[in-house]
Symmetry: C2
Subunit: 314 residues, 2 copies
């Protein structure tokens, strides 16, 4: 197996590209895929302030690294979710990465600052923990971006993540979610722009990138996510990919090119119904936003954190 | 396990309905599902002339039987596809069913009347045989309906068929196909109305219905379809259904209720581009329709069958 680019012995093959690469050319290929995604979807303009959502896993650390390699400076935001050893170790990986590179990592502990953590919230809502966790992350990454005057929040969602979310949205015809699922979500009142620069790269490629770049990351799956629906959908897609290499990428890019527009008006309609949360001012369709409702359910007694305080954090 | 309706011992359980039925109540349930589909989607009005697409398999024979049970008279159309013993036996089942019930079955042999058969066409096009077969069936069922002055063509597509087709269309974002995938497709210039009264019933239920009603049908899968993409997609959906009973029905009904409309304009646009085939007059976007092109490729030398001759067949 030889490198497609330089004919040296290859270290990784990518079936859907029908190609193999040596280490250097794989790193070049990976950067190119990110550069293309950023350009194609006009994710980040020169000079914009970028906030990377950092979990300590392979995707977010590789993303931070890749943006730096492409000359796009970014700060990181790490949320301490309070999931025991798993969170402790994830935090250590994020911190070590930032320290070694002299990058600015904002750290926020849910329990300290907001009076709850993910296990408590999950128990209180009696729902899958991933729901409470995703809600907290979406709310806080957006809030910190707005208050820290970042132009854009970059997340490490890769091709496999996006394809699994898309399959879930399609199986339930969640037309509002379909209208909002895209590699770039423009800023609107109360929302910073969201971008996913890794959408052209698979999970396996992200792991290989970290190994080849010497990035230490949290290898464990989150213990609270074991057996969740999202992982089941990834399995389903992997089977389709095995039968027909490229199926996942075609599913995603077909959606971006031909499917998404059909649902754009659904998302517009939902946006039109938004008003400010009576407690924290975040956009919501209810009186109190889902984040404030979750905090209350999870027993957080502290007053709502005001925007002015958040601003100081960044 | 007791029958949900009459508490007698049950003979079949249907997980997605969380219900079990005795033989009589299962037959009643099955008829009700068809009646509801016919009513909900306004498939067939009283007094309309119905043509059932009959293959000799469980779905089409059960459909013909169910329509009769619901007081909806229908003729059948059987196409001899020329797939060796498989076709011979399928034809015998269709004939025996019609004869035993005194129903009118129109029989048309592709080779005799159109100068080709499915294996020849598949070899000539070097594509999956299911493509040539589906194309031939769609064209001829429509043509015979128009020429025989039937109001509607009813096909035996069941819930599993429709869900697998939907998954395939979604994985490739075939937006034109998505715009046309619905339990009822209204008549338009050159097209008879198409309806699928079995969309609320699964494959397993159709087999059970035939067994309980004493309907002998072609049990074999078509030998030319072995390993095709459609069967792979059914497997994928069966795995999702195992993990989450009702997933298939929710996928389909969600599409009907929330997804389909988003693609309706795509189908309209495609319809606007249609003109008459120079050879047979059928609607097509090309000069010659796909059916006439297929016949020519498959070496059919006979002149195109005129409409007036087709009319005599019904």
């Amino acid at each position: 197996m030889k490198c497609r680019r330089c004919k040296a012995p290859a270290v990784i093959d990518i079936r859907r590209h029908n190609a193999a690469f040596c280490a250097d050319c794989f790193l070049h290929h990976t950067r190119e895929q990110v550069r293309r995604a950023v350009d194609e979807f006009e994710m980040i303009a020169p000079g914009e302030r970028v906030l990377v959502a950092v979990s300590g896993g392979k995707d977010s650390l590789a993303l931070w690294d890749l943006l730096a390699e492409l000359g796009i400076p970014a700060d990181g935001l790490y949320l301490g979710l309070g999931i025991g050893d798993y969170s402790d170790e994830s935090g250590r990986h994020a911190r070590a990465f930032a320290d070694a590179r002299g990058l600015h990592l904002i750290e926020v502990d849910l329990r300290e600052r907001y009076g709850y953590d993910v296990p408590t919230a999950a128990a209180a809502t009696r729902r899958a923990p991933c729901g409470a966790c995703g809600l907290s992350k979406r709310h806080l990454f957006n809030q910190f971006a707005l208050d820290g005057e970042y132009d854009v929040v970059a997340t490490g969602h890769n091709l496999d993540d996006e394809a699994a979310v898309l399959l879930g949205n399609v199986l339930h015809w969640e037309v509002g979610y379909l209208g909002r699922q895209f590699p770039v979500l423009p800023a609107s009142t109360g929302f910073a722009r969201k971008v996913k620069p890794l959408v052209k790269l698979g999970e396996r490629e992200m792991a290989a990138y970290c190994v080849l770049r010497g990035i230490d990351y949290q290898i464990e799956e989150c213990p609270m996510a074991v057996g969740n629906r999202h992982l089941g959908l990834k399995e389903t897609l992997n089977q389709l990919e095995d039968r027909s290499p490229g199926a996942k990428a075609a599913f995603l890019s077909g959606f971006w090119n031909r499917g998404h527009d059909a649902f754009a008006s659904e998302a517009d309609e939902e946006r039109a119904e938004l008003r400010a949360c009576v407690e924290c001012g975040a956009p919501t369709t209810a009186e109190r936003c889902a984040f404030c409702a979750l905090r209350a359910k999870a027993g957080a007694h502290e007053p709502v954190v005001a925007r002015v305080e958040l601003r100081g954090a960044s």
